[in-house]
Each structure stands twice: as C-alpha cells, then as structure tokens.
Amino acid sequence: MKKKFNLIIITLAVVAFVGCKDKLEEIVPQQSISDQLAFADETGATGATIGIYGLAQDLEVFGSMPAVISDFQSDNVNFIGSFPTLNAINNYATLANNASINGIWRDNFETILAANAVITNVPDVPGDGFTQAERDALIGEAKFMRAAVYFQMVNLFAHTYQIENGANDALPLITEPFTGEVVLYSRATLNEIHALIEQDLLDAITALPGDDLAPSRASVGAARTLLSRLYLYRGDFAAAATQASQVSGGTYVPAVDNGYWAAGGSEFLFTIVNTAVDNGETGSGGWNSYYEPAEQGGRGDCPFSADLLAAFDPADARLAFSEVGDNGETYTLKFNDASTDVSFVPVVRVTEAYLNHAEALGNTSGTITQEMVDLLNMSRTRAGLTRFFIADFATVGDYLTAVLNERRLELAFEGHRRMDLLRNGQNLRPAGDVDFTASAPGQDQTILPIPQQERDLNPNLTQNNGY
C-alpha cells in the first residue's frame, strides 16, 4: 500500500513539474493582435482602415459632441442639459480642465493617429495579391478621414482664418504613427493645418476609386464637398466653387423630397453608420441622447432655441420634422432613436455642396445669376417653401444672407452653424443674449482651450488666450 501511495505522489509531482513547461510563452491576448500582425497582410491593413471609421463613431469624434457644442455655442440650440462641462461651454465660462474637451482632443487624435498608421504602413504590407490600386484606395480613405477629423478639430480649437489670415496657432501637425518615442509637438498655424487637410483631400480625390456612392465610406464626392467647405472657410471662393460644382453638377443627386432623412439614400455623401450593435452612444451622450427628450429615453439636452424656431417659416417641412417633449421643448427628429441608437451621422451631405456652391458663386459673381438662385432653391422647395427668384434679391449681399439663413435651416443640428457665423463676422449668440459680446468672432470663449492635461504633459503647447 505504501508503494502505491508513493507512486501516486511521484506521478503527481512529475505531472506538476512537466505539465507547465513553456506555458508562460503560450499565453497571448485573445481580443487583440500584435501591431506587427496588424500590417502583415491585406486583411489586417483593411481591418486597420475600417478601424479608423470605428474610432470616428466615438461620441467625441463624429458621435455628436463636437457638432452639438457648435450648435449650442451658437444660436440653434438652447442647451438645457445638466452636464457641468457642457454647461460651462454653453455659458461661455469654459475652463482649461474641462473633461469633455479633453475627451474631444483625445478621441480625435486617436482617430488621426490610427489614420497615420494606415497611411504610413500600407505601402510596406507584404503580399503580391494586394494591388497598388487597393493600397491607394485604403490610403485614400485614411487621408480623407484624417482630413475630416483635423478639419473638425481645427474649427474648435483655433480662431477662424478671417481673424489673422490663418497665421494663428492651431493644432499639432502630426502625420506619423506613434512608434514609442513621445514627441512633444508645438502647435502648427491654421494655414499649416489647412494645407494638410487640403493635400489629404486632394490625394483622396485622386486615390479613391471614382464616384463611389456608398455613403458609409470615404468617397470622391464627399472629399470634394469637404474641400469646398475648407475653401469657403478660407475665403477662397473660386476654389470652393470649382470643387462644389463638381459635386452639385455631377452624379451626386440630392434627395427629391424631405423624407430623405429616414431613408438615408443618395442625400448622404459621407455618413458614419450607426447600428443597434455598433454605435457611438455612451451613457453620457450621443446624437439620439442629446436630441431626444427624456421620455423617449434621451437626455433631452438640446431642444431648438427660440431664435431657431423663429427663423423657420411656419410652413417649412423641416420645422415640422420635430416633436414636442413633455417638458414643452421642441426637438428635432433628425436623431430620434434613443432606444437602439441607430442614426445617420450627416458628416457630408449633397445639399451642403449645393449651398457651398451657392455661397462661393455669391462671393465671386458680381450679379445674381439663375444658377445661384437654383442652387439655393433646391433645398428650399424640397422643404415645401416657395422658390426664390432673382428679383427677390436687391444685392448680392441679400443673396448671401439668404444662403446663410438657408444653411442654418437646412443644416441645423449638424454642427455647421458656429463656423458659418464666425467666418461671416457674426456673433454666435443673438443680440440680447447674456453672452452676445463674449460670442463675437475672435473672442476667447468662442474657441475651446487646449486641454490642461495635455499642456501639463507637453509644455510646448501654447494655450489659447483667456484660458
């Protein structure tokens, strides 16, 4: 019996010692792969490109927060939410340690760096079957996304081109992926950032495979529209007209009636697609959360401002595209699915290209042409309003005012209003508002502070005035 026990013990001991040999090395992550594997083949490179869009779904990227801030900092949204960091921005009392702003900085740069990794690494991915055209297309998508995100960021953190002709400090200009060595970047000027955006979009137009109409991914039409927006913001109206005309006059067709929103469809040149299982909504916000009243499951933070309600013609179908919450406030129906968080994120729409074109022509043409009026009427008639005629405008200035107003109504809640006002020299808030003066173009609180945490870590970053 003793021998039997001894045998058992020796067996156990041997099993214990031998059984675990080399196990430590075999333990690898199950939800991640190494960064070398990520660019080891075409599948990995494609996944890394998809990942850029995935990151862009974030609340702080194209998941609504920057657009929401733009709409409530201006006169479209009456922010009634309780989140202190957003309230501070709404009250023109933003501090440099504002956590929401830190989140915007973090997630947008995360997306930019993910794009940089694709742009840098895709040319060297092994595999003969991975053709040059396929590589160019992925790089084109990455450049489009980098441009779109940089554009969103520079609008938030730097004063407009009109303030200092673009010589003002804007953002760190980063075109390389992170390889381990921390670079303490300084801020490049607005002109330098704009130059990067312009080049990326031009490259994307060349690299992307033709007029791809799938709005969930980068497309030439979206790149051209974005480029025309950039030129508008820089006051380069001729260039803006050139780019916009190739969209508005090309194969891109706006939706025919105002029901386009629910159907998606051709109206959207580039939209971040959110599904019930994959969206950028978080417990603290999101398109549906901000714009849906509490009883519908949203936070109900962002109803129409009184000023915006007054700006709509009562007959405007776009005004009717709204609901009144239990709290008596009016909410848009553009984002109305707070239970499953499915929504079209309108990053670039065809109608914007038409309005960009209209505004560019209004600034380059000495007279009002039928083309200009037609461009303006496109969205107007779709909303059930009567069309404009040339005679309705005494001056080009009147026409441009009408274009700006039309942009406001058509693109409400999509994050355009703030820049449209600032670059046109108008205060963000209407006269009589407590923050009317503080919201004048060039005022400190009209742009966001560089996050305090980021400056703590990188002393080379200068702060915006007033923070």
Binding site: A16, P29, S32, D35, G44, Y53, S82, N97, P172, P459
Partner: protein, 995 residues
C-alpha cells in the same frame, strides 16, 4: 502522525500505571477568558503518562504521590502544577501573550518565539466578538501598520487595506491567500458607479481561524513578485484529532442606519434660492419662486431607511485518531440603510485531514459560497440612491398624479428604478485545495497541493419601458478559473541540542483564466419579460477571454543556535506572463536574523523580563498589479469599437513596452519584541524602511500619440515608519480581567524619484492622480494639489482665492494650484480593551487616524450656487452674502464668482483625522450550573454597537463621513468622495451556543 501514536501509547501506559497509582486527580482546563479547552495534554512530569481533556475541558488522571502535572496546548505556554494533596486541580492556561503561539507564515508554520519574520496575527478569538462582515474588516484595528478604510457604507463595498503604506500606484492591494490558495482579488462586477464591490465578500469571516499579516521582507519574499504590498494569509477553521465533536451555533441580528446625513434645501428653500439666482445673475430679472413647479418631495428621506442584518452560523468540528474535520454553514442576510442595497450570502465549508499510514497524510479544505446582491448603482453615478437623492431637484416627484413612475432624466428616479427594475448580482465561488503529504525520511516531508479558486459573477439588469423606452435587458457572466499546483519539500534536522536547522524548497505553477459572456437587448413587448432573449434587437453579443500565469521556485532556510541566535534566508524566482519578454523572470530574496536576549545570562536574572527579542530583516519583493495582462505588448484591438457597419476592424489599443517589469521593493525591518512582568505586558516595536523602485504606472501620454497612457516602471517611493503594538493585562484574575491593546502605525510616505519630463509650475516632478491629487516628488503619493480658497469677501460678496504669488484673486487659473496635504495619514491605529467580570464581558475598539486630508468632490455639485434650477443644493448655500459686512459661506447672487465658487479648491478639502468608537460589545455567558441539565455546554448572549461615536473635523459637521475612499482600490485616488455613502451605524444582538 507519530505524535498521535505517542499519545496513544501514553494512554495505554497511563492505564498500566493507574493500576499501581495511589489516587485520581480531576479538573477542568480553561483559557484566560474562561472558555474550556478540550484536547489539552496533561502529562505527569518525567513520565510519558498522561491524558487529554475532553470536550468540556475536563480530565481525570491517576497520579503517584508528589507528582507534577504538565499541561500543554498548542498556542499556550506550558504550565506545571504540583499536585500536592489536592484531588481537584483546575488550571487556566490564560495569561500568556501571543509570543508563544504558532505563527502561520508563507508555505508553513513557525514558532512565534523563534521566528525572525514580522507577522501580525489576528485569531478567531480576536474577532469573535466583532460583527465582522468581510474578511478585510477582521483586520481593522487589529494589527499595527495595517490600515483598513471602508470606502463606502453600502453593503458589499470594497474596503481598502494598506500594509505599511502605499508603494504602488496601479494596484496596492495585499496578496490574499486562503489555505495556501492565492485569491482572485479583482472586482469583476459591472462598472456601476465609483465604489468597487468587494471581491472577498464571498469569504465567510466566521470560518476564519486566523489571519496572518506578513509585513517585512523576511515574511513576504517567499511570495516574490506579489509580496511587496504585504501578504494576508487566511487559515480556515480545522478540526482537532482525538476530540469529541463540538457544535457551535451563532445567531445575531442588527439594525443599520447611516452615521451621517447631509442637509439639502427643501423645495421652498430651493425655489426661493433659484429665483434669487435668476434675478441676481441677470438671467431673468422677473423670476419669482412662483415661476417654478410648486410640488415637493423629500428624496433623501425616501431613500434612507433602517436596514437589517441577520446572520445564522452552525458548525461542527472534531476528530478521531486518524481524521479531523470542520464543517460549517452560514446564512447571512443584509439590508443596507438605503433602498436598492440588500443581499444574502450562503457559505458551506468542509475541511478535513486524514492519516492514511504513519507517513502519509492527505486532506482537503473546500469552501462554497453563493452571494446575491439586489442592488443599484453606487456613489459616483446619478443612478446611485444617495447621489441621486441629494442631486435631485426637490420639486421633482418620483411619480405622476396617477402614481405612475416618471423618468426624471439624468438624475435618475432611483425610487422608480428600485421599484420596477432588476439589478441583480449573483456570485458563486468555490475555493479550496487538496493535498498529500509524505514523510519520506525522518525530518524530510514532501507535499503536493492542488488549489482552485473558481468564481462566477452573474449580473442581470432589466429596465422597464418608462426608464428605457421599449425596455432594455442586460446579462453578463464573468467566470474566473484559477488553479495552482504547489510542490514542496521540507527538511528539519536538529544537528544537536544547540543547532537546529530546517529547509523548505518548492515549486508552484498558477494559471488564471477568465471568460466574460455578455448580452444586451432592447425592445420588449412587456415589462414582464425579464430575459434578453425576449428583446427585438440584440445590441451586445459578446464573449471574451483572458489568461495569465505565474511560475515560481522558492526556498527558505532556517538555522538556530542555542535557541537564541536565529537566522533565516529566503529566495524566490518568479516568471510571469504579464511582463515583457525582456523581463519575464525575476529573483527575490531576504535574509533575517534574530537574537533572543532574554536567554542570555546577563538578562536571565531580571525577573521582569520574560522575553526580549531583537530581529533584523532585509530583502526584496515585487508587485505585479496593473490593469490588464498584456501591457508590455504593442497591440491592435479587435471588437466593437474598431468595427464599423458590419465590417471587422482593428485599432491601435496598447503601445508597446518590452522592458516592462514588476515593481521591486527593498525593505529593512528592525523589530524588538518584549514580554514583561510575568508576560502581563507584551510589546512589539518595528521600524521599517520600504523603498520601492520602478513602480508601475499607466503613465499619461500626450494624447497626440493616439494613446492616453502607457504602462511604465517610472519612479521610486519610500515608505518608512514605526509599527507599535502594546498589550497589557491590566487585571488578571480568574473572575476579573482587563486586557488592553494599543496598535499604532506611524507612516511617512514620500515619492523619491520621478521622471523630469512632467513638472508642475513649481518645478516639482509629478505623475498621475486625479484633478485634485497627484504623486509629487518630495511629497506623498497622494498629495492634494489645489488652488487655495480664502473665503467670501465681506465687502463685495465675491469668492476669493489665492493666486500663485499668494495674492487675492477672484479668477484663479490652473497655474495657481499649490501643494496641499496628503490623503495618507501620518498615524493610524486602534485601542482595544476586553473586560471580563465573572460571566460578563465587555469589549470596545476605538480606531483613529491623524494627519490626512479628505477631498469632497461632491461639494462641487451640492455647494455650487450655479446649480440652481438644475441640481439639489446644500442648505449651506442659504448662508449667502447679502450686504457689505456679511460674513457668509456663499457668494452673493450678483457676484461674478457665483458660477466659479465651487471650482476645485481647498474649499472642498478637509482634515480627515478622526477617532471613532468602532465597536462596543457587552456579553453575558450563562453559568455552567444553569446549563447543567441541558444539552448546551456554553451559551453567551451579547449586544454590540458599531460606529456609535465619532469625533472628526468640521467635515463631520457638514454631514459627511471621514472614512471615505472614492477611488476604491485605485491607489492614485485616495481620500476623495463623491457622495460616498456614509458608514453604517449598527446595533446588534446575538447569541452563541456550544453543544
């Protein structure tokens, strides 16, 4: 085995002698508290004749004339009694200090007298009179140098335990080992608020026989890469050989309330305040209180309640010649002092061991638990009962006029959610080990031990239509499966009477696998359908897994000479899957020496000194705690975040750091132990210096890297201090005794080195932390860094702060922040006294800390004037400046600082020192004659109170608890509170029976 055989022989020999013995002596053996001791060896000195006491502590032995009886029992000092002419000899083995006790150390036991390790022991006797609800609470106030802070008063909240300071920023928890199995000590619960759930809540404190806190390098080096924050060894109750079965039953029930309640404005006050604010701030010059909703509701009153705690324990222990066992079960029911906070726990335990042959033993210790919490969110969440109740605008009502609950939005309607929603957490856990021990040769023993810690944490959430339109459901099952194999060889050899020697060598392999399965769905036909499968849209379908493993070899050598010169050396080599390939293996070691001075001739003449021992240890240990198991690898993560529109994507998820390795702590310990005046006074004083090098930190990276942080070994921190424990038997007699123990831990925590690339405006290197605190070189690891608040200017009603130059300012900026106090106390300790008078016993325990600060982050909401008409407000704001000359708490309604008053500053920082009557217990034990005719051998009834009295700084007057820890186990955020639930004040009554 041989001892038991010997005993057996003694029995028979005793029998033989009895034939010629003159007479019989009987008696009862008790401990110093009067409890009878079964199983005490009673031997006639100079012979092998003897017996053992029975279950009632009684013995009967035939003795020759002039015999001397020797009473011996593990853990007690031997006592010799001359029989003389007596025929009844009752003996109390009390009055000894812990010095003679056996010490449970890593991978074995040592005689406390001859050990050179610094170990504090808490025994079942120390905690039996305390309403200890978790394993960690057993440590509070019981051991010098061990600080336990309750993070929150909600049931199931994780307390923080720190041993000899804080040496780590990523994870500073000690390693918990139960019967040789290192426990999974990670909160696997859903992130539902700021407070972590206690991963050790599944451990039943009433099953604990002893807790050893390993403190110095000599003690922890054998746990290598996991030892540097201390090791806590929990041994569960075992049976004893040759002992009749003893049953114990224990029932107690208690009533639970919050120690503190904040005073918030009622609806009338709030309407008036909000109207004044609208007018003063120029938002609406015509606003009056009548313009607001005219309803009112007392949210805090509706959320707070008197809770109940009830515990039923039943156990049996005993043993035969070859086998011993302990079997026990506990049912524990808890109901906290807020709604949405109740649960129960069922434990079973079976411990047994058996001798198969003379040289072969095996056994198993198995504990099974089911724990259920019916809960809501905690603390730093607007879904937490108290947080929500305090922040809810007091005119908001939970239900409409028809009694239907309404959705109150961001500040959740916790009353409605509690009534209609499901948030259920069920934890199932099995911990245990089986072992075989084989005496190969005399003195040489091999042991093979297989241990498991298998846990399952199942969480279910279901919100009805009103709180999540269409309804939403969520279920997550977290499975944690750890197993380890430990093989050891022990060799003991007494070379001669003067030289003793022992060596231990071992190998262990431990692997941990966890799996998480989660599903979520929205869209239900009815709120009566509880499961996700009934949802129209599945929104989460996830399954993930994670492994890590650690392989170790270790050895310990002990040598003693003349039983007074002691030496020990320990070495351990660890390999861990969690570290970079460049630094996967590490070596740890310790050497220690002891000198029992009282054995020396120059002290032996001094009667007052019973024991005087000096020991010194020096050595290393490590810490591997950090978030995640693969922090050294450059990774692209897959899954929901990078995936897009049905396409699988990957994203950069972790920056690589192939040099990543564990923190290494080098510790020097000098300890003096003394037993004085017939061991009436015992004293242990330790001085230590712990230097931790390369502490791990998820270092924030500039976000322009695309990452927020990278785990690095970055800095050095020094903890040095003195642990002092003094126990005195103030009165020591058979029917009256008073014993008091004072534990003091003095600690100085200083960050000694940090990288130069992260400096504050004052030029100090710093890292990490929160917006309020950080680790600053030359200061502590939890140093508050805030703008100095001055007060309200009586002339203008404006709030005033100090700028960087110390000048008054109304608009401070981030660069005006200054170094403030630390969240780490300079002194923490306890004072415990146990009084016994005849059949009564009285015990009380005071705990105290001194020299720390507490930051009340919640005041930035509750005391923010600008939150009028949006969040509930403190009544303190009613003390608003009105006219020049007013000395007020809050700025005037027209002040420009009205909206910036509540910004982070020393306004929210308070002295965290306190003294608290943690526990007081009064018990009465039924006299034996009363129980004679019953089956009951002993019975005790008791009443106890917890947290009945507290003395603290003015934060206590603010209605706030000083014992808070909003950062939970995150060592970077200590001493902060965001509406942390206060501690529980409990009154309990109970009865303990033995039969």
């Amino acid at each position: 085995m041989s001892r038991i055989l010997l005993l057996f022989v003694m029995f028979f020999v005793g029998f033989a002698f009895s034939a010629i013995a003159q007479r019989t002596v009987t008696g009862t053996v008790t401990d110093d508290t009067g409890e009878t001791l079964p199983g005490v060896n009673v031997v006639i000195k100079g012979t092998s004749t003897g017996t053992t006491t029975d279950v009632n502590g009684s013995y009967s032995l035939s003795v020759p004339n002039n015999a001397v009886l020797v009473f011996s029992y593990v853990g007690f000092e031997n006592q010799e009694v001359e029989v003389g002419a007596r025929s009844v000899i009752d003996v109390s083995l009390g009055g000894v200090t812990e010095l003679q006790e056996v010490l449970v150390v890593g991978y074995g036991e040592q005689s406390q007298r001859f050990s050179t390790q610094s170990v504090s022991t808490v025994t079942a006797a120390n905690i039996k009179n305390l309403p200890v609800l978790s394993a960690q609470e057993a440590l509070q106030g019981q051991a010098a140098g061990v600080q336990m802070v309750g993070s929150s008063g909600i049931i199931g909240a994780r307390p923080t335990v720190r041993i000899r300071g804080v040496a780590s920023l990523e994870g500073a928890e000690p390693l918990y080992v139960i019967d040789g199995v290192p426990l999974v000590n990670v909160d696997n619960s859903l992130n539902a608020g700021g407070t972590e759930m206690n991963p050790l809540a599944t451990i039943n404190p009433s099953e604990i026989e002893s807790v050893s806190v390993l403190k110095d390098a000599a003690a922890v080096a054998i746990y290598g890469s996991r030892g540097s924050n201390g090791v806590i060894l929990i041994n569960t109750k075992k049976g004893k050989r040759n002992q009749e079965t003893v049953f114990s039953a224990d029932v107690f029930t208690g009533w639970v309330e919050a120690t503190q309640e904040r005073e918030m404005m009622n609806a009338d006050q709030y309407r008036e305040y909000s109207a004044n604010a609208y007018v003063g701030q120029g938002d609406d010059p015509n606003k009056t209180p009548a313009d607001f909703r005219q309803t009112s509701f007392d949210w805090p009153g509706a959320v707070l309640r008197t809770g109940r705690t009830t515990n039923y324990s039943l156990s049996a222990r005993g043993g035969s010649e070859n086998t011993s066992f302990y079997v026990g079960g506990t049912y524990f029911q808890q109901e906290g002092f807020t709604i949405g906070n109740e649960g129960d726990r069922i434990n079973f335990r079976l411990n047994m061991d058996h001798s198969a042959t003379d040289n072969l033993r095996f056994g198993a210790n198995v504990g099974i638990t089911r724990l259920e919490f019916d809960r809501l969110f905690t603390e730093n969440s607007t879904f937490a009962p108290l947080t929500s109740a305090y922040l809810q605008v007091p005119w908001v009502e939970p239900a409409d006029e028809n009694g239907e609950f309404i959705n109150t939005g961001f500040i959740a309607n916790v009353i409605g959610i509690e009534a209609t929603s499901i948030f259920l957490q069920i934890q199932r856990r099995t911990t245990g080990n089986v072992y075989v021990e084989w005496d190969i040769l005399e003195g040489l023993t091999a042991k093979s031990d297989f241990g498991v810690d298998i846990g399952q944490n199942e969480e279910t959430q279901r919100y009805p239509d009103v709180f999540s339109p269409g309804g939403s459901g969520y279920k997550r099952i977290f499975q944690d499966n750890k197993h380890l194999i430990t093989n050891t060889l022990r060799y003991n050899k007494d070379i001669n009477d003067d030289m003793r020697f022992s060596i231990l060598a071992g190998h262990s392999y431990e692997i941990n696998r966890n799996e998480i399965i989660a599903v979520e769905g929205n869209g239900f036909v009815s709120d009566q359908l509880p499961n996700v499968a009934s949802a129209s849209t599945p929104t989460i379908t996830s399954a993930t897994g994670n492994d890590w493993a650690i392989e170790s070899m270790f050895s310990r050598l002990n040598y003693s000479f003349l039983d007074r010169y002691l030496f020990e050396a320990t070495v351990r080599r660890d390999g861990s899957s969690r570290f970079g390939t460049n630094n996967r293996y590490g070596n740890f070691w310790a050497v220690s020496g002891g000198w029992i001075l009282s054995e020396e001739s120059f002290l032996s003449g001094i009667d007052a000194i019973n024991l005087l021992k000096l020991k010194v240890s020096y050595g290393t240990s490590g810490n591997d705690q950090m978030g995640g198991n693969f922090r050294s690898l450059g990774l692209y993560g897959a899954g929901n975040i990078p995936s897009y529109n049905g396409n699988a994507g990957i994203e950069p998820s972790n920056p690589s750091n192939p040099d990543l390795t564990w923190e290494e702590t080098t510790q020097l310990d000098v300890t003096l132990t003394a037993g004085l005046f017939d061991n009436r006074v015992s004293l242990e004083a330790s001085y230590y210096i712990k230097d931790t090098d390369g502490f791990l930190l998820d270092v924030p990276l500039p976000q322009t890297t695309g990452f927020t942080s990278r785990t690095e070994n970055i800095g050095e921190v020094r903890n040095k201090g003195i642990d002092l424990a003094i126990t005195g038997d103030i009165v020591r007699s058979s029917d009256f005794s008073i014993r008091s123990t004072l534990n003091l831990g003095f600690l100085n925590n200083e960050v000694t080195s940090l990288p130069d690339d992260n400096q504050d405006i004052q030029g100090n290197n710093f890292v990490g932390g929160s917006d309020s605190q950080r680790a600053i070189q030359g200061h502590s690891i939890n140093q508050f860094y805030l703008i100095n608040y001055v007060g309200i200017d009586p002339a203008t009603g404006e709030a005033q702060w100090l700028d960087a130059d110390g000048e008054i300012t109304n608009a401070p900026v981030a660069d005006d922040r200054q170094i403030q106090g630390s969240a780490i106390p300079d002194l923490s300790g306890s004072f415990r006294t146990e009084v016994r008078y005849q059949d009564f016993d009285l015990g009380f325990l005071f705990t105290f800390v001194q020299g720390n600060e507490v930051f009340l982050s919640d005041m930035r909401f509750s005391d923010n004037p600008d939150n009028f008409d949006s969040f509930g407000l403190s009544t303190r704001l009613l003390d608003t400046w009105q006219q020049p000359g007013d000395v007020a708490y809050a700025p005037g309604f027209e002040a420009t600082t009205f909206s910036t008053f509540a910004q982070r500053s020393t306004q929210q920082l308070f002295d965290g020192s306190y003294v608290r009557l943690k526990n007081i217990t009064l018990g009465y034990s039924m006299p034996n004659n009363f129980l004679d005719n019953t089956f009951i051998d002993r019975a005790r009834v008791y009443v106890m109170g917890t947290n009945l009295w507290t003395f603290a700084s003015d934060l206590w007057d603010f209605g706030v608890e000083p014992e808070v820890n909003g950062g939970a186990s995150n060592p970077q955020i200590q001493g902060e509170s965001f509406f942390a639930a206060p501690m529980a004040r409990t009154i309990s009554v109970g009865v303990s029976l033995g039969f």
